[in-house]
């Protein structure tokens, strides 16, 4: 008698506590399934495609974990993309400096020993720690809002990395100033190209992050600080120390990603490397259920959020075939809006019906959404489809707006009549 309600309660609690994760899992399966039906690529080379998605997921996931931890603790780290570029440059420059030199004075960066890489990677992680510490100092001591502090390093670090690479190449190579550092070592490149290596790194870091966030005192305090910083301080929690930890985790995870991305292409190129990636990481965390208000979010959700993001990006790439990279921003933007809007709707109480297109703002919004949809359809499927989608969206949203207005009108009239 006692066992059955308990076990039902456990299942129920699991479903309730993880409804977001279950939903994501279903969405991932649905998108992957749909792509399999629509495009040949998945059917012809399923393994290869799966490996590629997992590799990309792992590369993004490594620093999305850091972004999630900062967001859960009530902050935001916008600097990840530039930290990736800077870390990649630091890592490559150290490898260059330690590599043996041939008779003409050029560094040979192939067939290097493990020691060189160990030193380079360790030094890069230290750089990540220093960047995180700088953020924590700016935020807790100087009193800058996290947005400003990390925005400054988003802009500053990339520029610094570009100057740094030019100085390093001028000093260490015979070719003079260049904007990139090449690393030709095969073992190093496997770090980023062999699918299971980034995956193992991602899974290991995820396990560590999960243990930290859900099974340690520090993790509980991070949630508490994100949920209510003033109350956390008054509970005797050292919020300044916790922020230091969170921003260091975030910056160091971006450093790891910087090493992996540099290894992937065999080049440190701070001009383009990691550009815009900070938003992908934040998007993955938000899609995974982290609240930008802080205090809410799970590592498991973030992992699935990253996977979902990559699966959708890959699905679009497979269906559009050309210029898939260009669509990435659109997809990320759309998914973030949808995920957050979906959460808002789920939390909104029943009975209070939300009006999406009220007043003049609503009318203009209908126009914008229809134009956007029409434009996308035109690009992807030609002018005919574009006009059809434009007209269709206009009619559909217009109908929704009409219904909403009538309902709101009824309510007012009802209030006036009785």
């Amino acid at each position: 008698m006692k066992a059955s309600p308990d076990s039902a309660g456990l299942l129920g609690r699991l479903a309730r506590g993880h409804s977001n994760e279950l939903g994501l899992l279903l969405a991932i399966v649905a998108v992957a399934g749909l792509t399999t039906i629509l495009s040949d690529a998945y059917r012809e080379k399923p393994l290869q495609n799966a490996e590629e998605i997992l590799r990309q997921t792992s590369l993004l996931g490594v620093f999305a974990l850091g972004a999630a931890i900062v967001i859960i603790s009530g902050g935001i780290d916008l600097s990840a993309g530039s930290v990736i570029a800077f870390s990649g440059s630091v890592c490559a420059s150290i490898i260059l400096a330690l590599a043996p030199v041939d008779e003409s004075g050029n560094a040979i960066t192939s067939d290097l020993g493990v020691g060189v890489f160990a030193i380079a990677i360790a030094a890069t992680l230290v750089v990540g720690f220093l960047i995180g510490t700088l953020h924590a100092w700016l935020i807790t001591v100087v009193g800058l809002p996290p947005f400003v502090a990390t925005l400054a390093s988003l802009v500053g670090l990339r520029s610094l990395a570009r100057v740094y690479v030019q100085e390093v190449t001028a000093a260490l190579t015979t070719t003079g100033k260049t904007t990139q550092i090449y690393v030709n070592d095969e073992a190093f490149s496997r770090l980023g190209t062999e699918w299971w290596i980034p995956l193992c790194i991602f899974l290991a870091l995820s396990l560590a992050a999960w243990l930290l966030m859900s099974r340690t005192v520090v993790g509980r305090h991070l949630y508490a600080m994100g949920g209510n910083e003033a109350a956390a301080r008054l509970s005797g929690i050292r919020t300044d120390h916790l922020k230091w930890l969170a921003y260091c985790i975030s910056a160091m995870s971006a450093s790891v990603a910087g090493i992996l991305y540099t290894a992937e292409v065999g080049t440190a190129n701070p001009q383009v490397q990691g550009r815009g990636y900070e938003l992908n990481a934040i998007a993955a965390a938000v899609v995974g259920g982290c609240s930008l208000q802080g205090g809410v979010g799970l590592i498991s959700g973030t992992m699935l959020g990253v996977l979902f993001l990559r699966v959708v990006i890959d699905a679009v790439a497979k269906s559009v075939k050309v210029g898939a990279d260009d669509y990435e921003g659109i997809i990320v933007g759309l998914l973030v809006v949808l995920a957050v809007a979906f959460n808002e709707l789920r939390q909104a109480r029943r009975g209070s019906r939300k009006q999406f297109f009220p007043g003049a703002l609503g009318l203009v919004a209908i126009g914008i959404l229809s134009l956007g949809a029409g434009m996308l359809a035109t690009i992807m499927a030609g002018r005919g489809a574009g006009s059809a989608v434009l007209a269709g969206t206009l009619v559909l949203l217009g109908a929704i707006a009409l219904v909403e207005r009538r309902r709101a009108g009824d309510r007012d009239a009802g209030a006036r009549l009785s």
Partner: protein
């Protein structure tokens, strides 16, 4: 009675919050031109009812009629359009803006070219303020003004809206005696203009001085409505509380032990303020097994004093604090916690509760290290400890895994007290612990405090309700504008004496 006979008619209004019914089927008629006092204890539902009338709370069950028309306000704007303005207990002003800008916020006067007409707004504001006996320049930023003047700015704003119905939520809680007298003159003048006033209070003297009729709320229900002449303060108080105030055997004498906390010449600087000191030269001691009460008006420095003792004040206090025989100087609440001081803060929602977390997590937060097994938190140990606290303090919840927000205010407060009891404190600081808690839960909290005290804990508590301090405390310290103006033993203390000490400085000013 038809809805048309009354200016405002409330019909069967119910408002539920998760875990608590704030208003249960309340029906009330308010007549044009009258001053109706709404009385009840904290948590009785007074403010909730008024917020519904003022369009602040928009979701509720039941109907509200204004001038016979059914009205369901969807915001304060709707209510203002219907002629209803509210002066909240916690004032609603933009501190950085000037008095005039606040009065005309959202309805700024404009010149023909569409620019702000500062001169016209200053002129109109000045005449409104003059009418209210408020001698301040319209251009002064609100942040520089005293609370009493800020309140008059809110009233000026209501007047500029030509409000016919003015709701005042405990307007005197932060005022000195002379400011109260001025407010009452203003109210009289408003009534002469035909304004209907709904006056929320739990102070009987005010209510019987001002009101035509008195509505009593208790635990979210309307108990009765009286004409002032046909009742007396005793009867109303009795109905507010709902039973003879249980003399929870807290009155039986406790035996204080040795001194546990000694405060000497404590001063808290107030940079950039004319008064210079937030707290000035405070000295007292606390024994084990003793409850020390701190009385004072809003802004007297009660909260600041507790924060100093807990290492949580923004500025470093000066003076000497001795805890269990050792001089202490806390830089951070974590040090105070380790030394055996606990603070249950006044604003539960903002400073105490972790609303995204479960009941268990809220209870174990400060002492989670005790639940480690091989370095990792054991959920079993954690739940076990949380369940012990739930049982010990009688917290009503179906499971310790419930979200803390599903509990009622009283149970949330107990959970926070439980969190701190787990740290095994020597001194417990309670800042207005019964604020927003219903009557039954209050009595339980009183018993709990008495019980803890008898176990040898030293407790310092503040309260905005004097009767509470008088029933619970062995000694009462009175603050007025950051100074210690009196200390009474239980035998000496009366409401009259405490109020005199709490407004001592205002009295001096009046005498001069």
């Amino acid at each position: 009675m038809n809805p048309g006979d009354a200016l405002i008619s409330v019909r069967g209004v119910t408002k539920r919050y998760p875990g608590v019914v704030a208003l249960a089927d309340v029906s009330l008629e308010i007549l044009a031109g009258e001053l109706m006092a709404i009385v009840g204890e904290n948590g009785a539902g007074k403010s909730t009812l008024m917020k519904i009338l003022a369009g602040v709370i928009t979701e509720y069950e039941g109907d509200v009629f204004v001038r016979g028309q059914r009205a369901h306000f969807r915001g304060t704007r709707d209510a203002e359009a219907a002629g209803i303005s509210i002066i909240h207990q916690e004032l609603n002003l933009v501190e950085e803006l000037s008095a005039a800008a606040n009065i005309f916020l959202g309805r700024e006067r404009r010149t023909r070219l569409g620019f702000l007409d500062q001169a016209a707004m200053d002129r109109d504001a000045a005449s409104l303020l003059e009418e209210l006996e408020c001698a301040i320049e319209p251009g002064r930023p609100v942040s520089e003004l005293r609370v009493g003047d800020q309140q008059l700015i809110e009233i000026a704003k209501a007047l500029s809206l030509e409000a016919e119905i003015l709701i005042m939520d405990e307007p005197t809680s932060a005022l000195t005696e002379s400011e109260v007298a001025r407010l009452f003159r203003v109210i009289a003048r408003l009534r002469a203009r035909g304004v209907t006033v709904l006056y929320i209070s739990h102070k009987m003297d005010e209510v019987f001085q001002l009101a035509d009729r008195i509505a009593v709320l208790r635990d979210g229900k309307l108990v009765d409505v009286f004409n002032r002449r046909s009742t007396n303060a005793r009867q109303v108080t009795h109905l507010m509380v709902g039973r003879e105030i249980e003399e929870t055997d807290v009155s039986s004498p406790r035996q204080p032990g040795e001194v546990v906390l000694e405060v000497e010449h404590l001063c808290l600087p107030w940079p950039g303020h004319a008064r210079r000191w937030r707290l000035e030269d405070i000295s007292f001691s606390l024994r084990r097994g003793e409850i020390l009460g701190i009385a004072g008006l809003m802004g007297a420095g009660r909260t600041e004093l507790l924060e100093c003792l807990f290492g949580a004040s923004d500025e470093r206090p000066r003076g000497r604090i001795t805890l269990e025989g050792r001089a202490v100087d806390f830089h951070h609440p974590s040090e105070a916690r380790r030394a055996g001081v606990a603070l249950v803060s006044e604003d539960r929602k903002r400073l105490g509760l972790f609303s995204d977390m479960t009941l268990a997590a809220n209870i174990t937060l400060c002492t989670l290290r005790q639940d480690l097994r091989m370095g990792l938190v054991s959920r079993n140990l954690e739940s076990h400890r949380a369940r012990e606290v739930v049982a010990q303090l009688g917290i009503k919840a179906s499971s310790v895994d419930d979200p803390i927000t599903s509990l009622s205010g009283g149970n949330q407060q107990k959970a926070i007290i439980g969190r701190w009891l787990l740290t095994r404190p020597a001194v417990l600081l309670l800042d207005d612990p019964t604020r927003g808690i219903d009557v039954g839960a209050k009595a339980e909290l009183y018993r709990l405090m008495d019980q803890l005290c008898r176990q040898g804990l030293g407790i310092i508590m503040t309260s905005s309700e004097l009767p509470e301090l008088l029933t619970l405390c062995d000694r009462i310290l009175v603050l007025c504008e950051g100074r210690q103006t009196a200390e009474f033993s239980r035998a000496e203390a009366t409401e009259q004496k405490i109020m005199e000490a709490a407004t001592a400085r205002a009295g001096v000013a009046a005498a001069l």
